[in-house]
């Protein structure tokens, strides 16, 4: 028989406001096995924990029930308390009488009754608890960063600085990400390339960092500290270790009409290319969709001109396996497609562009060498209309746009407007907005400068329609403050397209078993207290794959994720979760039901010799659980038709005891 102590927490008024805590403590006192019952204002405080420790000693407790907040909040706290008092930590059960009781009920009698029932259920479970010992597993001291934008680069640099090896896997031929495409950065207007490219070079030269560019993740197995990752290195038809990046091939390639994705298709590149001058690794890549040699077998110009002999048309995709202790997702974002926003005539006129295209148009390395010229006729635009929130905050039509605020558009639009007015004082610049949102250090001052110093016309209201007419774009808009309809003859319209997670994020999340929200942003373990960790142990989040954010915030989060990774890699061994599945092999008939439902691949089968009642022996196929891989989700216990599979700490018997206690 257990000797159980019950501790009812007030949580200030959080619980005590709707639950009569004294009555709960009183009611639970007479439950089977309970030898001590008390209440206290803050059970999680030092004094509250001491109260538990003292009671364990004084009443020789073997089990503890804490009626308090969700186990996600303080289960670990109270397990540590129990351990400090000499109890096995798994002899503690939490009855959640806050989130699942006091917070959802308004009336004291109902709250109190439910709290008592939840307490009884927890007592019934502790009566059947047994001490559990957690196993340990070693840690592979190497990290994987998926995505080589500013987020991934910063995370990798910080991990490498701490002395741990780290690999960056980037799907494009170079690292750099979206930031490499930007012209200037707010709020200080320093050029993106000037602050990014040194970091790219650092990453390329750091002896702790390996960059797998033009590569993708194929498969992820294992668990925290022991991930096994299959990486596919796509054939770039150039030997990376021999290519010197001289660029001769990219000048001589006769296939000149390939849309240049780095400039968002606003100019062309060759079939063999280096994305931009500062690319890391600075190695050429042959685009198999356009290369005449690869498509027809006739050409070979690049191989002829390459003095290093780096061209290799026979190269194949290469898949290799690496082991990692921690994985950081840094897959970034993309602007959404403008196809569903035909009212802005993006697909009807080349002079309607997105803000990212605008970045390339004002960038010295862009298609116009930094001169702001209309894509249609190369003329200098005089009237420029910026439209904010194109697809952002689109809660009235979730199929068309995104419900969330993309967060960065107000600031970069202010930047664009300011830069235009600064460079071309002969222009009229309008910005249409729903709200101007500029929280951030020196952000609002920046926006005010655009309005006050640079004379940008900020109009509260949305553009209803853009129509190409002759060489003008007719812009129909409403000015909500003046209650007027505006008609503007514009030369250039710039759409601040909402941003969305990169398409590669969803399949990656599936491979990592990391959770995502409905918008395909990775979910953090706790939105406030664990913002850079995924709920999946050993998977961390960096940058816009977790939610829209600007560069300062991305870099902060990248470094935070690195700190978490370093904390993990510093450990030699990890203590596992002992609440894992176990199979009673006498009852198992080897049907494979559990193996089929296991999301972690933790179940294997083996033929085992059993002694039969008639003294003969028989080989039977039975399930085996790899305790290091099992995450304790419990799928197998539900799937098992013979009841052989059970979860330690959450045994069927324990759960049924709880249900019985609730239904009594």
């Amino acid at each position: 028989m257990q000797r159980i102590g019950v501790f009812v927490c007030w949580c200030g008024t959080n619980i005590a406001g709707t639950v009569d805590v004294k009555k709960v403590a009183e009611a639970l006192k007479d439950e089977p096995g309970v030898v001590f019952s008390a209440d206290y204002q803050y059970m999680c405080s030092q004094a509250g924990q001491d109260m538990i420790k003292d009671a364990v000693k004084e009443h020789k407790l073997t089990g503890i029930v804490v009626c308090s907040c969700s186990p996600r909040m303080h289960e670990t706290t109270f397990r540590k308390t129990a351990a400090a008092a000499g109890l096995n930590p798994y002899m503690v059960e939490i009855a959640n009488i806050r989130e699942q009781c006091s917070w959802v009920h308004k009336e004291m009698p109902i709250g109190t009754e439910k709290a008592i029932i939840l307490g009884k259920a927890a007592v019934a479970k502790v009566n059947l608890n047994t001490p559990l010992i957690a196993g340990q597993s070693p840690v592979t001291k190497r990290a994987l960063v998926i995505g080589g934008g500013i987020a991934g680069i910063q995370t990798a640099l910080d991990i490498a600085d701490a002395g741990f090896p780290v690999d960056i896997v980037e799907k494009l031929p170079t690292i750099g990400g979206k930031m490499a495409q930007l012209d200037k950065t707010f709020p200080t207007l320093d050029c993106a390339a000037c602050i990014l490219t040194p970091k790219m070079v650092d990453a390329g030269q750091n002896e702790n960092i390996r960059i797998f560019s033009y590569s993708e993740i194929e498969e992820v197995g294992g668990f925290v500290g022991n991930f096994t990752v299959k990486i596919k290195k796509k054939a770039r038809y150039v030997k990376e270790d021999i290519c010197t990046g001289c660029g001769l091939c990219t000048e001589k390639c006769p296939q000149k009409k390939v849309p240049n994705e780095f400039n968002l298709g606003m100019d062309n590149r060759r079939a063999v290319y280096i994305p931009f001058a500062q690319a890391v690794p600075k190695v050429a890549t042959i685009d198999p969709n356009y290369c005449t040699m690869l498509k027809t077998g006739k050409c070979g110009v690049c191989a002829k001109v390459c003095t290093a002999g780096a061209i290799d048309y026979t190269q194949k995709d290469e898949v290799f396996t690496e082991k990692y202790g921690a994985i950081v997702a840094a897959t970034g974002y993309n602007p959404i497609s403008m196809d569903k926003f035909d009212e802005f005539a993006y697909n009807q006129s080349r002079d309607v562009i997105t803000s990212l295209e605008f970045e390339r148009l004002t960038n010295a390395a862009g298609p116009t060498a930094g001169k702001l010229l209309r894509p249609s006729d190369g003329k200098h635009p005089h009237t420029i209309v910026f439209v904010q929130c194109v697809g952002s905050r689109c809660s009235h039509d979730a199929e068309k746009g995104k419900e969330y605020c993309s967060k960065i558009c107000c600031m970069y639009t202010a930047k664009h407007a300011m830069l235009v007015r600064d460079k071309y004082p002969d222009t009229e610049v309008y910005v249409f907005y729903i709200d101007v949102r500029t929280p951030g250090k020196a952000f609002d001052e920046f926006y005010r400068r655009a309005v006050e110093e640079y004379g940008v016309h900020y109009v509260k209201g949305m553009v209803g329609k853009v129509t190409p007419e002759g060489d003008k774009l007719k812009v129909l808009a409403s000015d909500l403050l003046a209650d007027k309809q505006l008609k503007i003859d514009a030369d250039l319209v710039v759409l601040a397209a909402a941003i969305e997670p990169d398409k590669s994020a969803r399949p990656l999340a599936t491979m990592l078993t990391a959770s995502m929200d409905t918008n395909d942003f990775f979910t953090e373990a706790h939105p406030k207290l664990r913002p850079v960790e995924s709920p999946t142990a050993g998977v961390f989040l960096s940058g816009t794959c977790q939610g829209p954010k600007d560069i300062p915030e991305t870099v902060s989060q990248a470094s935070a994720a690195a700190a978490k990774v370093i904390g993990l890699l510093c450990k030699d061994k990890l203590t596992g979760n002992p609440c894992v599945a176990s199979s009673n092999e006498l009852m198992c008939n080897g049907c494979s039901s559990c193996e089929k439902v296991c999301p972690y691949g933790a179940i294997t089968y083996m033929d085992k010799e059993f002694r039969m009642p008639d003294r003969t022996t028989k080989l039977r196929r039975v399930a085996m659980v790899n305790e290091a891989v099992c995450q304790g989700c419990g799928c197998c216990t539900v799937a098992c038709p013979s009841g052989a599979m059970d979860l330690k700490g959450f045994a069927n018997e324990q759960i049924m005891a709880e249900v019985d206690a609730i239904c009594k």
Binding site: D342, Q348, E399, K465
Partner: protein
Amino acid sequence: MNVSYFPGCTLKTKAKELDVYARRCAEVLGVTLEEIENWQCCGGVFSTAKDEIASKLSSVRALTEARDKNQPLVTVCSACHNVIKQTNHAMANDADFALRANTYTGEPYNGETEVLHYLELLRDVVGWDKVKAAVKNPLTGKKIGAYYGCLLLRPGKVMAMDDVENPTILEDFIRAIGAEPVVYAMRNECCGGYVTLEDKALAKKKSSAVLENAAAMGAEMVVTACPLCMYNLKKNGGCDLPVVYLTALLAEALGLTDATHGCKEENNG
């Protein structure tokens, strides 16, 4: 093939042309429009009041009859089409509305009928190729501005006929009859609608903006499917650009009549 047909009040009075040519052209293209029995006025406008069913019951009855004959229901007038299609959508998707309407009519109907505008009939049932093949008198060289107005396409998710912002169905029609479409900004803007009864000046502003824009872009005439648009453009447009019904144009192209001179005065209000 036979389809159910809902002409609507205006097509029996002011816009006879729209009705007569619709039937005759459809026959030539192998489709018989079977006028449903005892149809009543669609109500003219789809009430957005959530608790209003009375004005929509006429549509429900027409839809039920088409369902019982296992035929799609074809309309020509933009306003009728809008009311009937929206009512059908509500019957299929708004359980509360459907329950009340069904309790009233006593005949269970849950939005099973397919509602087609005449243009959709041409595009999706007949097919532009077949229309092209049937053209005897192609309107070659004619520059025609398509005027969609607002009711034909919106609300876009319910009407689901074409892209509301950048539609092509009328332009495709114009091409099919051998003419040249003129794309202009105001083609899917409102003509002023019923506001002409209350604020003539506003209706004039809306209608003239449409016609002026079409003329400026080189249109020699404007084609519409809507009697109310026809009325506004003619009376309030302040411009002598001819406005014709799409069925009249089709009839001319198919060699059934000479319709390019616009509608006869008594036929368009």
